[in-house]
């Protein structure tokens, strides 16, 4: 395997790539290709606009590159990356307390969405996004991690530095609130 060829890393697992990422940019590039979209979706779901989401996503990957030597492999690279994203978002939120999350449905929605996405209209999408945006930040974050990445309660707890019990409570409260809002809107 040639370390200089990014294509050579396509079949390599995340842990191996992460071990090389500190001194081999092609390894980091492959990790970037694999995880940019999930990280961006998560960050965008916590941000008020595209510009902020791009800024924060850039910061996440810059931090990941700068801290590549500190990844120890005791958890998945994905979890490590989402933990960085959580930290970046938390820092940003602390200085922008009045910012709203996704106030409008993201304008960059995939024009060719999944069958599930095609089943709901733009108006319904608007209602769902507003309901998510109206959640308290901690609830919004755990809902996004669960819905976007199907992460387990334990993984979400590690990423957000909460106990498993606290995550379960946040998820329960968020889902109850979303069910109530979406039922009132006739979507459930």
């Amino acid at each position: 395997m040639s370390p200089s060829s990014a294509a050579a890393y396509v079949e390599v697992d995340d842990a191996t790539l992460a071990a090389r990422a500190a001194h081999d940019f092609e390894a980091f590039e492959e990790l970037y290709r694999r995880h940019l979209d999930p990280v961006y979706r998560f960050v965008r779901s916590q941000s008020p606009d595209v510009a902020t989401a791009e800024d924060l996503t850039a910061q996440v990957f810059l931090n990941a590159l700068s801290a590549a030597r500190t990844y120890r492999g005791d958890g998945s690279y994905r979890s490590w990356l989402f933990r960085i994203a959580h930290n970046v978002i938390s820092t940003w939120r602390a200085s922008h307390r009045r910012a709203v999350a996704v106030a409008e449905p993201p304008e960059e929605m995939d024009p060719g969405p999944s069958p599930a996405a095609q089943a709901i209209s733009r108006k319904q999408l608007d209602v769902v996004m507003r309901a998510v945006a109206d959640l308290p930040p901690a609830q919004r974050e755990v809902v996004a991690l669960r819905s976007l990445e199907d992460l387990s309660t334990d993984e979400i707890a590690r990423i957000t530095r909460r106990s498993g019990g606290a995550v379960r409570i946040l998820l329960h409260r968020a889902r109850s609130r979303l069910k109530s809002v979406l039922a009132r809107e006739g979507l459930l």
Binding site: D55, L62, A119, V132
Partner: protein, 73 residues
């Protein structure tokens, strides 16, 4: 439709702006010194010139510049 399906439909449809992926990768790959240019107000996201590549934010540019300085020190 269930709550999980609604949430998945809404959140998983988000995609990054066309070009962002390549711009950020080029910025991260950068090793030479970074020159920060004035941000076009009023947007918080600013453009910077990084080894001929234009992309990203001032925050990232400043961090990249520090990193480049450490490398060349």
């Amino acid at each position: 439709m269930t709550l999980d399906m609604l949430l998945a439909s809404a959140l998983r449809g988000i995609t990054a702006r066309r070009g962002f992926r390549a711009e950020l990768l080029q910025a991260l790959r950068l090793a030479p010194p970074v020159v920060v240019v004035a941000p076009p107000a009023p947007r918080r996201t600013t453009r910077y010139i990084a080894g001929g590549v234009v992309a990203g934010s001032v925050g990232v540019a400043v961090a990249l510049k520090r990193r480049a300085a450490r490398r060349t020190a």
